[in-house]
């Protein structure tokens, strides 16, 4: 009962806050400090930022929301960039950081100058900044949870990992490992590194397949599902349930299989539009709302029934994306409280 009242109270607070949100931040300026723009994910991220913030500026929610990208993925360059953003009088800086630690000095300076710093994707560890982080471990675990529901008998799994030595690979892997430990009906019989690339994954899977018993499902990290499917096909083995990672080629293949034989799976990854979530979080903080320092980004999950719709909106060769609204940001913040 008490909890319900609390939720109700929070909802009322949020509703009240949103009523005057327009008024309070309309003369505030937000900057995006981005360290890299060299792949499709980052390009989609910048495009999402542009789309959402232009609308926000036109609506008078904020005065400006300018993106700045450093020419090379360099800590010192981004540090200098942030210092200049401080001088230009931005009220909030949204950061995709080149390094989790090495920008702490300048982030602290920004905080000391009264600037709200929200980091996302590439987060920073400086305590004064907000973090919109991706729980990659939970993402890995969610794959096993899906299998648990859809594959009651369990079976052998093949795991395709990402790029060795990168923290994201470790995090997703540990989530999958934890899921398997809790659900003994599943067993990982093989593990390869697909480097988040279809061609690498295809080669790696083709190499390990002859040594494997029957594989019921393939757990992946994104960008590797289509390659795995091709490897199974080339080896003449039955296609297992392959978890996808929201890439356009993966979704297209899934759609073809679904139409041909009712193939079932799911697809999960992080939407590049997370930059817009960080934008709204910054706006909420500027608006004077209480926002916890650590927030978790929801995954973008595609299921059997919304596959067609997602495929339609995904650019060729791109990644399924979604832009977040102020409402989404409020939900994320409420979830973290």
């Amino acid at each position: 009962m008490f909890k319900k009242t609390l939720i109700g109270a929070t909802a009322i607070c949020l509703a009240l806050a949103s009523a005057n949100a327009m008024a309070d931040t309309k003369d505030k300026k937000i900057a995006l400090s981005n360290n890299y723009a060299g792949n499709s994910w980052r390009q989609a991220m910048l495009k999402s930022w542009d789309k959402v913030t232009k609308q926000a500026v036109a609506d008078g929610v904020v005065a400006a929301a300018d993106p700045f990208t450093t020419s090379e993925n360099q800590v010192t360059e981004q540090a200098a960039q942030i210092q200049n953003l401080i001088l230009q009088g931005y009220n909030a800086i949204v950061v995709n950081a080149a390094s989790p630690d090495a920008l702490n000095g300048v982030i602290k300076q920004a905080c000391d100058a009264g600037i709200v710093v929200v980091s996302f994707d590439g987060i920073v560890t400086e305590p004064c900044a907000w973090r919109v982080a991706v729980d990659f471990k939970a993402m890995g675990k969610s794959e096993i949870e899906y299998l648990k529901e859809n594959m009651k008998d369990g079976g052998n799994l093949l795991e395709i990992r990402g790029l060795a030595g990168v923290s994201v690979d470790d995090a997703i892997h540990s989530g999958i490992e934890e899921g398997v430990k809790e659900n003994s009906q599943f067993k990982i019989v093989g593990s390869v590194h697909g480097d988040w690339a279809q061609d690498v994954a295809q080669k790696a899977v083709a190499g390990i397949l002859p040594s494997l018993p029957e594989v019921k499902a393939v757990v992946t990290q994104g960008g590797d599902g289509y390659g795995a499917a091709q490897a199974f096909k080339a080896a003449g083995r039955p296609t297992p349930l392959i978890i996808m990672g929201n890439r356009e080629d993966e979704l297209k293949w899934w759609k073809e299989q679904k139409d041909a034989n009712g193939y079932r799976t799911m697809s999960v990854s992080i939407a590049p539009g997370v930059s817009t979530l960080a934008f709204w979080v910054a706006q909420m903080i500027l608006d004077g709302q209480q926002v916890p320092k650590d927030l978790t980004v929801p995954f973008l999950r595609i299921d059997q029934d919304n596959l067609e719709k997602s495929l339609e909106t995904t650019e060729k060769g791109g990644v399924a994306n979604t832009e977040y609204s102020l409402e989404d940001a409020k939900k994320v913040v409420a979830g973290a409280k």
Binding site: E72, A79, N84, S99, N104
Partner: protein, 312 residues
């Protein structure tokens, strides 16, 4: 005639300072907020490690060599400082001294085997980076408190980076340009035969210069981690090119012995400010590197024009 000649010479020497002044005025017009102690401190902070790396490069250029490893060397020293200085200061200091010793050995090797310095230092740049990545596979570590405190020192009235730059420039200017051993050191690059004939060991002077370069590389790394408060193997990758550009911008030349410590510090500050200016102008990042290069070329063209004028 002599008055004109003197003027041109004076103009050539003053060019680094004039460039910096023009840039500063442009920044102040574009961004009046920058014209405060806070603003100047922010903009110039990262110029301090660049200035130290530029001086390290200048020592090497002075003996007619080129150091392509200074960037990754600075990165390595930040990793060592971040990992060991806070918890095991003795071990950290020892490792940093070892780094300097490695630089001395590099100078000796280049001199004894008569190897092209570009090749040796290029190779060493991968060695430094490799060790740094081994020590610190993912960014981390922590700056020692005293270093962090020193780099964030607040002096009333004057931005700390300006004081630091003046002190650094003055020390090197006096040591290298106004001491008798400094003349010998510069002579090693300018006229090695004469220096050798006068009885000085070229091996020793080269080792001293590379040792100085290593020491300033370490100082650069220390000041950098004092600012960032955490280390990263790739933190200073761009310093190699920055340092060379800074020396040249500051009036140095690739023909040995012709360098200017004050100019090099001014050159480093100019480069750091040029980046700020371009961000203030909101020039797209794709154009920024090009625009920085353009500034460099304009200054060099001006210098060439002045020099040619004085030769006539």
């Amino acid at each position: 005639m002599t008055a004109l000649l003197l003027n041109r010479d004076l103009l050539r020497r003053a060019l680094p300072a004039i460039t910096l002044a023009v840039l500063l005025v442009a920044i102040f017009i574009k961004q009046p907020l920058a014209m405060s102690q806070f603003g100047l401190t922010l903009m110039l902070q990262y110029a301090v490690p660049i200035a130290l790396a530029t001086l390290a490069q200048m020592f090497v250029i002075a003996v007619n060599d080129l150091d392509l490893s200074i960037g990754s060397f600075v990165g390595l020293t930040t990793c060592i400082a971040g990992l060991y200085l806070p918890t095991e200061p003795l071990l950290g200091a020892l490792l940093l001294l070892l780094c300097i010793a490695a630089y001395v050995a590099m100078g000796a090797l280049i001199h004894l085997r008569n190897l092209p310095s570009i090749v040796v230092t290029l190779g060493m740049s991968f060695v430094w980076l490799g060790i740094a990545v081994l020590l610190l596979p993912t960014p981390g570590g922590k700056a020692p408190e005293w270093l962090h405190g020193l780099m964030n020192l607040k002096v009333p009235g004057v931005p700390f980076p300006i004081i630091a730059a003046i002190v650094i420039a003055a020390v090197v200017q006096i040591g290298l340009m106004h001491s008798s051993y400094g003349v010998v050191l510069r002579g090693t690059g300018g006229n090695p035969k004469a220096v050798a004939r006068a009885g000085w060991s070229l091996l020793k002077t080269k080792m001293v210069m590379f040792g100085l370069a290593g020491s300033f590389g370490v100082l650069s790394g220390l000041s950098l981690i004092g600012l960032t408060s955490a280390a990263d193997a790739h933190i200073a990758d761009r310093y190699t090119l920055y340092s060379i550009a800074g020396v040249i911008l500051g009036g140095g030349e690739f023909i040995g012995g012709r360098v200017s410590p004050v100019g090099a510090v001014l050159g480093a500050i100019t480069l750091a400010l040029a980046a700020s200016f371009l961000i203030f102008l909101r020039i797209s990042p794709d154009w920024q590197i090009g625009a920085q290069g353009a500034i460099l070329i304009i200054v060099l063209a001006l210098r060439a024009a002045i020099t040619r004028g004085s030769a006539r």
